[in-house]
């Protein structure tokens, strides 16, 4: 095995030093009847062979590098500058672990500190932590932090607040994860199944038992809420003594009002867009930003600036007393390992793209999405759903079942059309969530429009047989 350095001679010498005869003697505490159980695994492979096998599996996938894609819904294709792979690929970064020994981990620690700084700047918040697993778990941790933070606010000493209000336009997977994480806490989680997405309807659910309200901006259906609208929501939530948490698309913050400016208490979301590949769903990172007052109630690692004995600036993990390794059963979260390498990628991405680059990414997404929506809205049979401005995603009501359209576009046009909303939001009807980023060329958008138009023509020409046939094939 190439990964074990010791030779047989080394092993003999080491066994002798330990005072044992055979390697097997090392395992004498393992119950004998279960020792050396047979493992039915494929034969070992050389590096060359394993690469062949794994490449064959990779080749079996129809990946987005080869197709025009308008699929987003929480995971996005954005441009990743070459420096990100190159720098994050330095094994001094990726072969290190959690910077428990700060003097020999300054690279990791300073990168975390810079990541925290840029996330705070992007969101307009006071502080950020070193990352959660993904946007969904960051949302669950936001809820748990709010439960701890809002407890003291409840009038009349009636004990902890137990209600959590989730917007129906919060990513459905995030809502699911909030339910999973808190299933033992006896909470009353409401709002997720509202048909009406208006904030006023959501606010009707907020009572004196409410610890927090969680919304998304732009929401899962792409709709943007203005700073004024968000401020009104924050004021109403605060009046009830609850916290407001907002999940945001970090790329959108390249141009839109940072949540810190509209009174939000917690800003979190999926950070994958910041320099990370799609990776079939992971590893991603959850970013998490907050107000100074809540930092000590928050979960996850945080780096802080300090000095060494000579007065030189350096960085350490700080406020660790919040965490499981110190607070054990009294910790509010069990998180230990986070997504540091993904946060490093986000850090490098934000530094490389910088102030101007991120703005141009955001603006290109915006203009291309508006262009696509405008053109699609002109095709008879299609309708853009929603009245509000949108960023890079929007909903299109279609003249035929979405899965039929998706299959047709993939097979005939090589286009990955988008996300079928019928399972998550059946009340919307046949609706497709489309995503347009700076990665989509005008040609791709024009092709999409042409493809959708040809669907409309088929429907118009009563070529429904074809539609049905396509449905049968499926």
């Amino acid at each position: 095995m190439p990964f074990i350095a010791n030779t047989d001679a080394d092993r003999d010498a080491m066994l002798a030093a330990v005072g044992l005869e055979r390697i097997e003697d090392l395992f004498r505490d393992v119950p004998e009847q279960h020792r050396y159980a047979t493992l039915d695994l494929p034969e070992p492979l050389s590096e060359l062979e394993v690469l062949r096998e794994v490449s064959a599996l990779a080749d079996e996938n129809d990946h987005l590098g080869e197709l025009a894609s308008f699929l987003g819904a929480g995971a996005y294709r954005h441009f990743v500058p070459s420096v990100v792979d190159f720098l994050a690929g330095r094994s001094e970064f990726y072969s290190a672990y959690t910077p428990y020994q700060p003097e020999v981990s300054q690279g990791t620690l300073q990168a975390i500190f810079e990541y925290q700084s840029m996330v705070a700047a992007l969101t307009g918040m006071d502080a950020a932590n070193a990352s959660h697993y993904d946007g969904a778990t960051a949302t669950a941790e936001a809820v748990i932090m709010a439960l701890n933070s809002a407890t003291g606010n409840r009038p009349g000493g009636k004990g902890p607040r137990k209600r959590v209000v989730l917007s129906p336009a919060l990513n459905p997977q995030y809502r699911e994860v909030v339910h999973t994480y808190t299933q033992g806490m006896g909470l009353d989680i409401v709002g997720g199944d509202l048909i009406d997405h208006d904030f006023h309807t959501l606010l009707e659910l907020v009572d004196e038992d409410t610890a927090c309200v969680v919304v998304q901006n732009p929401d899962f259906l792409g709709q943007l809420h203005s700073a004024a609208e968000m401020q009104d929501l924050a004021d109403a939530v605060h009046a009830a003594g609850a916290l407001l948490a907002v999940s945001v698309d970090p790329i959108s913050l390249g141009m839109f009002t940072p949540p810190g400016e509209y009174g939000v208490d917690i800003v979190m979301g999926e950070g994958q867009s910041l320099g990370n590949a799609l990776n079939f769903g992971g590893p991603y990172l959850g970013f998490f930003a907050m107000r100074t007052a809540d930092v000590r109630k928050s979960a996850g690692r945080i780096a802080g600036e300090t000095v060494d004995v000579d007065g030189q600036t350096g960085y350490v993990l700080t406020l660790s007393t919040r965490e499981q390794h110190i607070r054990r059963g009294r910790a509010t979260s069990n998180i230990c390992t986070n997504q540091a390498l993904m946060a490093l990628r986000a850090c490098i991405y934000l530094a490389a793209m910088g102030k101007h680059g991120l703005r141009s990414v955001a603006e290109q997404c915006y203009h291309k999405a508006q262009y696509a929506a405008t053109r699609i809205s002109m095709i008879p049979g299609y309708q853009i759903v929603g009245e509000k401005p949108f960023f890079k995603e929007f909903v299109v009501r279609c003249p035929a079942p979405v899965h039929v359209i998706k299959d047709y576009l993939l097979m005939e046009w090589g286009i990955v059309a988008g996300y079928d909303l019928v399972d998550d939001y059946p009340e919307l009807g046949e609706c497709l969530l489309l995503c347009v980023t700076e990665m989509n060329t005008r040609q791709e958008i024009d092709d999409l429009v042409e493809a959708l138009a040809s669907v409309a023509e088929m429907v118009e020409d009563m070529e429904l047989e074809l539609v049905r046939e396509l449905e049968d094939v499926r």
């Binding site: 003291g152 660790s320 007393t321």
Partner: protein, 130 residues
Amino acid sequence: MAYKFDATARYAESHDWARVEGDVVVCGISDYAQHALSDVVFIELPSAGKTVTKGDVYSTVESVKAAEQVYAPVSGEIVAVNDDLESTPELINEDPYGAAWIIKVKPSDPGQFDELMDAAAYETFLSEHE
């Protein structure tokens, strides 16, 4: 290790001290407790007006390595909280029996104070348990 004691205070096994001042009982943590914690960086304070029962956790004191709970040595209503500790938690290291008092309690059962150890008994307790 020689620890400091306040001869006028009484002590609980959880290393909390209590001292009668007029009609209130002043509470804090002992010199031993602050030594065990090392440099205190943060204290979570209760709010005045809250009622505590003897043995309740009313505060948490944190160093960089530990987060220790602080227990009420007597029952009663919290009538004052030492807000100075919020900005200068290091007072707990510097003057645990003086400037670093944590709360003042109006006791509901004055007899509870007498049940606590006096300084000599606490010193013996420490030497037996260290």
